[in-house]
Amino acid sequence: MPDELSERVYHGTDAASAESIARDGLNYDARRAAAGGAGPDPKGFSVTTNPGTAAAWARYRAGERGGPPTGVVLEADAARLPLRSGGPDEWTDVDEWFIATEDFPQVGPGVFR
């Protein structure tokens, strides 16, 4: 878990998912549809403070789902997001923060670019 939150956070994904997130905001149903056979992370929508990690996620998701091979790294102003860090019993990756599923309606169109 990061010690402190940077001003910008990043999310790497394939181009189609990135377009949907930027255009419509976070959507629980669309996220489930994109997750495929492994299913979504039930704790919520993950972001990272490390743009390099986001770029690696973008390349992998693009390779898995199609579209431009670099994928897309979305970014957002951390102050505009209802971010949470992992609780004491909750696993998170290095530099990972997340938006809980119940907070998705707070993240509308244009928040991620």
Binding site: D29, D41, A56
Partner: protein, 174 residues
């Protein structure tokens, strides 16, 4: 799009599904379904390791390692993940997914009431968990039932695999 899901994430029961038992029940309930062999979450982590192999070689502790480690942890925490599809006449198939953390169905188009009732019935017969449906056009979800009955589809042994074990208490010395 739409979904129906029975989730144990943050459910007070403190139990986890055994996806193999859920799939056995699904085979009986949906004989027309096609079951995809293997743990899909573990397979995803393996695909990532192959796809990012060059980056992992060049920078063994870099961002690619974070991605692979994250997928492996999620496969272990929420999996195994068994997928299946249920055909629907004149429509795209329903996607089913059984994980230790949740069992659910995802569909592209509105479902006829009898099919929807079958899916509801199957999830309710699993006995325990929050039954969730889409809300606000799918932006979020609503809990329509909190099942707290018995279930014959649970993992043996205490605890749930998606919770991080508590750190051991430290004792002051001296």
């Amino acid at each position: 799009m739409g979904f129906l899901e029975l989730t144990l994430y943050k459910h007070p029961s403190g139990v986890a599904f055994d996806p193999s038992k859920v799939i056995a029940k699904a085979r009986a309930a949906f004989p027309e379904a096609t079951f995809i062999p293997g743990d899909q979450a573990a397979a995803e982590a393996q695909r990532a390791e192959v796809f990012l192999a060059e980056e992992l070689r060049e920078d063994p502790h870099g961002p690619a390692r974070t991605v692979v480690a994250s997928l492996r942890r999620k496969a272990k925490s929420y999996g195994p993940s068994f997928a299946f599809t249920i055909p629907v006449a004149g429509s795209k198939p329903i996607r089913g997914l059984a994980r230790s953390v949740a069992v659910g169905f995802h569909f592209q188009e509105p479902l006829p009431v009898p099919i929807r009732e079958r899916l509801y019935g199957f999830l309710k017969c699993l006995g325990v968990g929050f039954l969730e449906v889409p809300k606000e056009g799918g932006k979020t979800h609503d809990i329509v039932a909190d099942l707290r009955g018995s279930s014959d589809c649970l993992r043996d042994g205490p605890g749930v695999p998606w919770l991080k074990p508590a750190a051991p208490a430290t004792t002051e010395v001296g």
